[in-house]
């Protein structure tokens, strides 16, 4: 079944959980982005993908959250944008085999756009287009824009993706983490309206401050744009330090309970973000099937 048919009419899709925190648990040094391991330790990235597929994920995200030139340049990888994105797709595709869809993950630039910052809208479009081209050429099932805060940046990412891959399915999720809005002040209903106008294939919320805030955001998105396939991929609750470990208070059971509620609200894709593990995805898969 092609991805769009499944998204609209098939069984609910279970997406994967966190990549970054899993790589860190496997020894990725602080300050090194996961994309560096796409090149240096592809077998570890592949292991994470496989663990999620084994746990029941039908949709896995490439390890390319920071795969734009803007972010790769911080790791000295500015001249390897195409290579990082292509390799990441190859790794994910091999791990997915024929058991899961592969989503080309696109995260924010980490910069403010004009007039708030120096990056122009047109430059942002070009940066997203460059990454999307690398992902699309390597053969992803969809492009998956996530953790967005600014609607200008959402527009730039959508425009960039469509410039190079007009026929690929495209989804967008935002992070609601500031008093029910994104940290740029975007309300869920406002985001839903803009995303509906942009005619992306699905949208929703990921990351976020708390499971409650994400649930509230999803409710408002649904009210503003009924019928659109919703995607919900929240953090495993809130991080807190216990002894020397960072623990997330969202257990697999809690996440599974929320996943059920998200599906009742119209979610067609549910998964996890920061702090979630294959155990969370397994519990979610069991709960929604």
């Amino acid at each position: 079944m092609d991805f769009l048919t499944r998204l609209k009419d098939g069984p609910v899709l279970v997406a994967d959980g966190a990549m970054g925190t899993m790589l860190q648990a496997a020894g990725l040094p602080v300050g090194t982005p996961g994309e560096a391991w796409v090149l240096e330790r592809p077998e570890v990235v592949a292991d994470v993908h496989r663990a999620y597929v084994e746990a029941g994920a039908d949709l896995i995200l490439t390890c390319t959250f920071g795969g734009t030139r803007a972010r790769l340049s911080h790791a000295g990888l500015a001249d390897r944008v195409a290579e990082v994105n292509r390799r990441a797709v190859e790794i994910a595709r091999e791990a997915a085999a024929d058991r899961a869809y592969v989503a080309g993950d696109i995260g924010p630039l980490g910069e403010l756009l004009v007039p708030l910052g120096k990056r122009t809208y047109e430059e942002a479009v070009a940066l997203f287009a460059e990454q999307a081209a690398g992902l699309a050429e390597a053969g992803v099932d969809l492009l998956y824009i996530e953790t967005m805060s600014s609607l200008d940046e959402v527009r730039a990412a959508v425009e960039g993706a469509r410039r190079v891959a007009p026929d690929l399915p495209l989804t967008v999720t935002l992070s609601f983490d500031a008093k029910g809005r994104t940290n740029m002040g975007v309300r869920p209903e406002q985001a839903a309206q803009v995303l509906a106008e942009l005619r992306v294939d699905g949208f929703g919320a990921n990351c976020g401050a708390s499971l409650e805030m994400t649930e509230e955001a999803v409710c408002r998105m649904r009210e503003a744009a009924p019928g659109v396939p919703l995607i919900v991929k929240p953090n495993a609750g809130l991080p807190r330090m216990v002894e020397d470990e960072v623990l997330y208070d969202g257990t697999p059971e809690v996440m599974a309970e929320y996943a059920r509620r998200f599906v009742d609200l119209g979610a067609r894709v549910v998964g996890g973000c920061c702090g979630s593990t294959p155990a969370h995805i397994e519990a979610i898969a069991r709960a929604v099937r």
Binding site: V30, G110, R240, M241, V246
Partner: protein, 216 residues
């Protein structure tokens, strides 16, 4: 002081309108306003109001950034005139601020720096991905009262602790206070790593830093 010009200047900062702030600052000067007075009695309180609006959920990052730009636009007019008149704003303290090593999140740290400057502090912003040794050497060089450490990742927040340890090793912990912030940080984390304060947002950062230097 000419309230007819200064009240709109305050409003231009609160509205985040740099062009208008620059123009009104220039007009206030031509009308005889005292530049230091305008900074202390207009710009500073306007930025405090902006911080309050943020805390209350009226304002978000875009409004804070633009208000900061408006303040800087006004300062670009008032600052040189203060220099010309040999006016020096008495600073409550010197702050060295940055995002810790391994972390490239810039926005929150820069907003805190802007709010501290608005409150009169001398601020040395070291940028992002700053090694512990760089905090130590700059703090020594400028005789900092406070070091501000931002971390936005659960993994990099440990480097806030590393900076505190480096300050201890350098024998500077006795006179340099440390304040931490960033999404994963908390008052409990601050206490655990021996920081002197935690601030949830840019406005609170000003309150905490003021308290740490004994003017709050």
């Amino acid at each position: 002081m000419n309230d007819e010009l200064l009240q709109p200047l305050s409003q231009a900062v609160i509205d985040g309108d740099p062009d208008r702030a620059r123009e009104l600052a220039a007009r206030a000067l031509s009308a005889g306003a005292d530049p230091l007075g305008a900074v202390e009695q207009v710009l500073s309180p306007a930025m405090e109001e902006v911080g309050r609006l943020y805390e209350e959920g009226e304002y978000f990052i875009p409004e804070l950034v633009m208000a900061g730009e408006a303040m800087k636009a006004a300062m670009s007019v008032l600052g040189p005139e203060m220099v010309a008149r040999e006016q020096v704003r008495s600073a409550p303290g010197v702050v060295v601020i940055g995002t810790v090593e391994g972390d490239i999140h810039e926005i929150g740290k820069s907003l805190v720096a802007t709010m501290l400057e608005a409150a009169g502090f001398v601020v040395h912003d070291l940028g992002v991905d700053v090694p512990a040794a760089a905090f130590v050497s700059r703090a020594r060089e400028v005789d900092a009262d406070v070091v501000g450490l931002s971390a936005l990742l659960t993994t990099t927040m440990r480097n806030q602790q590393a900076v505190i340890e480096a300050l201890e090793e350098a024998g500077m912990r006795g006179r340099v206070r440390v304040v931490i912030g960033g999404a994963p940080a908390s008052p409990e984390w601050a206490e655990r790593i021996g920081a002197d304060g935690y601030a949830e947002n840019a406005r609170e950062a000003v309150t905490v830093v003021r308290r740490l230097v004994g003017v709050g």
